[in-house]
Symmetry: C2
Subunit: 390 residues, 2 copies
């Protein structure tokens, strides 16, 4: 059985060029990039190339890229790095209710350390209102952190507009772009953000590698302290194998970007139209147009997403019920609840994310299997029986 | 020309079994270990194996191992994690003057956040006196952090003795074992430490991967916050390729440990005796017996280590002048200064570290080349000319 993988937000299959680049480092380059001898220099050159490739994807300077161990470290670095460095200036931070857990949990900790957090509501589509951001700014505000696109419903925030407000008010602005980078075009100069987080495993690079864009002059303490690596912004001997994978993934995302976008849009349209035609009582989440092109969040009434996911896995189709990072937790998605959805419907939500390797035939397969599996689960659901009986 | 690599503290060549394991993951396993479907579970199983392999090397339980992005993250996690979690209990931390920069720079930051740091002197061999540790403890002390072995001079501290004092006084004890783990046998239960840091690139694993041993019940905030990975101790999708490399490196260090130790001792003896016989005015650093078996720190009077290192590199021999992490900084080693060495002699220090692949023939080659290169540099040194003229 050919397995259909539609959980590309959790992790993407490595691009063949990424595999090739990582194999080469495993075989040939073991040196420490900080060593001055030939082995060190070979590793340092590999890092340089990856830094240029990553910077190119974002339209930044190479020296504004700090390599990290993934999206979570990038976000932790940005938020805690600004909060601690600015603690004498002020201790107020603005965010939204539907950020990734890495953002929300950093802020929960900062609250314990006497920071004030304003967490803004979003509308039914997950959009935050830039005017609400502006209104929340006080003379104590040192950081605004708002995601570029939501990882569970795909809604893309008006980041350039918010960044402009932050710039006018002289507040540092971080955007968590983990769900968006490598998927949609991003230009940090056009957005005019100070900090931007990304992760390689969103665009056919390896797990556990990411980057933080740090605009020159942004006040930021290191999160990892020690040696003078990464332009003194992030200590620790670099994960050369992984970083080279990130660099190559960034290059391929840049080269294939347009083609991938077209494919994503076709698959997404086909999937949404097909599901609507085949299964009653579905709700599609996220903004109708300002949305990631590779992501479909659909809430299926009367059933639980977990059961649906497992039955689909048995049929050889891999999807998610929410972000993998949260899969150990049993609560309903704070993102869906944040858009006003009720708990039961939130529990019945599937997250389907495409990657460069998916095909229309795979969408056809999901469209063939899913109605049957949904019906099986609904037939076992007492709430569904009651609803049908009415 | 066969290049002789004698800088195994900076990074070690990957073990063939480690390469094989990493290649397999690159080719076959891309899933997110938190995903519940088959791709996720394949990745989760790879992590499980690596966790058991790493735990076995340390004599710990598998669930006491937290994977990190390297020694620096492990150290930052241990120190900041305990300091923040215990901030209501007290804000006093004890360390020594010759710790790795990751320890010292974490503590410098905590000082800015109103923590008090006691940094203990060491003797001429780099040894700390356990009685001095005991004397430094106050009712505000929440953490003692002392390295297991020094990364520049190899001196092994009396960790079990210090851990016993910490246990009696109910103070959390962290040991930075990055320079020692995978080289000498370590049993965390026998040492009775609460936290222990290690890095894979010290024992033929990849750069940018490490682990933190966390004894069950140790109070510790996460450094990276977000998802529920690593038993809720370290958020972020795991670097599966690197972690599998660490696990296999740990297994091979365990299996080959005795054999490697014997080889290290032979090579070390041969090198020290050979250098003593061939070059006058050398000083060998570190404790004469309580010392890492694979490390030789030698200070060469009248010359600079940097020049020596570069000339040796031209001859195809790679050594270091100090820890690679500090190579961007031009100051003399704080470790050597901490043992009472004067600045000029400290600048003339070479750090030679063996790995499993080194041979006696390679030591012979260094013994043949180094006297000539040292003489070349001394002939250009005005201080040497003056000294000879006397």
């Amino acid at each position: 059985m050919n397995v259909v993988y539609l959980d590309n937000y959790a992790a993407t299959p490595l691009h063949p060029k990424v595999k090739e680049a990582m194999h080469r480092i495993v075989d040939e380059v073991f040196g420490n990039p900080s060593s001055d001898h030939r082995f060190g220099q070979a590793a340092a050159e590999a890092l340089d190339t990856a830094r240029k490739q990553t910077a190119n994807l974002l339209g930044s300077e190479a020296e504004e890229i700090v390599f990290t161990s993934g999206g979570t470290e990038s976000v932790n670095h940005a938020i805690k790095g600004v909060a601690f460095s600015q603690r004498e200036k002020g201790r107020h931070i603005i965010t939204t209710n539907i950020e990734h857990k890495s953002v929300l949990n950093c802020l929960r900790t900062l609250r314990l350390l006497d920071y004030q957090i304003t967490s803004l509501d979003v509308d039914q589509y997950g959009l935050v209102d830039p005017a609400a951001v502006e209104k929340a700014i006080t003379d104590q505000t040192v950081l605004i952190t708002i995601q570029l696109a939501n990882n569970e419903i795909g809604t893309i925030q008006p980041i350039a507009e918010i960044a402009k407000i932050a710039r006018q008010k002289k507040v540092v602005f971080h955007t968590d772009a983990v769900a968006a980078a490598g998927i949609i075009p991003i230009d940090v100069k056009a957005l005019d953000v100070d900090l931007l987080s990304l992760a390689a495993n969103q665009f056919n690079g390896p797990n556990g590698v990411g980057a933080l864009y740090v605009k020159r002059g942004t006040p930021l303490w290191p999160l990892l302290e020690g040696g003078v690596q990464e332009n003194r912004k992030r200590a620790g001997t670099e994960n050369v194998v992984g970083i080279v994978g990130l660099g190559m993934a960034a290059e391929m995302a840049w080269l294939e970007g347009h083609e991938r976008l077209e494919k994503f849009r076709t698959l997404r349209r086909k999937l949404i139209d097909g599901l609507k035609a085949r299964i009653p009582n579905l709700k599609f989440n996220g903004h109708p147009t300002q949305v990631l092109p590779h992501l479909v969040s659909v809430s299926v009434e009367f059933i639980e997403g977990e059961g649906l996911m497992l039955l689909l896995d048995e049929e050889g189709i891999c999807v998610a019920t929410r972000s993998a990072c949260a899969s150990g937790s049993l609560r309903a998605s704070h993102v869906l609840i944040g858009t006003g959805m009720d708990f039961a419907l939130a529990q019945g939500t599937l997250l389907i994310t495409f990657g460069r390797d998916n095909t229309e035939a795979e969408v056809d397969r999901l469209l063939e299997v899913m109605p049957r599996v949904v019906q099986t689960l609904r037939d076992m659901s007492p709430i569904y029986q009651k609803s049908v009986a009415r």
